[in-house]
């Protein structure tokens, strides 16, 4: 029932959205708001860190996809950090591995942005 959203600036014009807990139909609006706010402020290079996420459902995936679509319109991109095998499996099954850059740690994900 809990979600943690922590947004911080990182190298260059990139921003890191660090998420923790469970991203489901109830909590994903909070994630969407955080991402939307960043994009509205003109930040189009995002790292979304899912290392502390224990659970994600299609609503959560939809928020990530929605974010990716919007930043791409501005030539930006979204890279994910994901180490949880269950969550990686979801990205595999859905074919979203081909759409997102998925990395094992934040530094890697950040470097790959530029």
């Amino acid at each position: 029932m809990d979600i943690k959203v922590n947004v911080r600036e990182s190298g260059g014009d990139a921003y890191v959205v660090e998420l923790g807990g469970e991203i489901d139909v109830y909590t994903s609006p909070k994630v969407k708001d955080a991402i939307t706010e960043l994009i509205d402020q003109g930040h189009y290079n995002l790292v979304i860190n899912l290392e502390k996420v224990r659970y994600i459902d299609s609503t959560g995936l939809g928020v990530l996809i929605g974010g990716l679509k919007r930043v791409r319109e501005h030539g930006g991109s979204v890279n994910l950090v994901c180490t949880n095998p269950q969550i990686r499996k979801i990205f595999d099954i859905t074919g979203l591995v081909k759409i997102f850059g998925i990395y094992d740690d934040e530094t890697e994900a950040q470097k790959a942005l530029v």
């Binding site: 469970e22 139909v25 459902d57 939809g62 979801i90 099954i93 859905t94």
Partner: protein, 140 residues
């Protein structure tokens, strides 16, 4: 509503009714996990079941046809768990795209159910709404 014939001998049925609202989906997820825990499912299987039931509930909530509650009926066999999800509205898994790419998030949810469960059926929408029936088998 037509009686559903379960194939395997039932070891027990648990019924859960939650409000058809986003904030209650976590309760369905945890109840299904507790039920699955009674069977020799792996930790990964249980995660799959949690996601499948959450997607079914999320679908019902989004497709909301005015139903107030979601009924979740879990039948445990010796080596399988069958979950029936009902509301007063319809659930149409065959309306889901074969591949989710480019589809809606609703389609993605149904796609995930199909990918994570061993069997997914649905009964046609009648006066009392549609029903999604999904089964996961141990060791599959």
């Amino acid at each position: 509503m037509k009686e559903i014939v379960t194939e395997a001998k039932s070891l027990g049925t648990v019924e859960l009714r939650i409000p058809s609202k986003a904030e209650w989906v976590a309760v369905a997820r945890l109840t299904v996990a507790a039920i699955a825990n009674r069977l020799p499912f792996t930790v990964e299987d249980i995660e799959d079941l949690k996601l499948a039931i959450a997607e079914a509930c999320t679908y019902v909530i989004h497709a909301s046809s005015g139903a107030d509650t979601i009924d979740i009926i879990c039948d445990t066999g010796p080596a399988d768990l069958t979950i029936r999800v009902r509301d007063r509205g319809a659930i149409h898994p065959e309306a889901a795209p074969r591949r989710p790419a480019g589809g809606s998030v609703e389609g993605l949810g149904i796609f995930l159910i199909q990918a994570l469960m061993d069997e997914v059926k649905h009964t046609p929408e009648g006066d009392s709404g549609g029903e999604l029936i999904m089964t996961k088998r141990v060791g599959s």
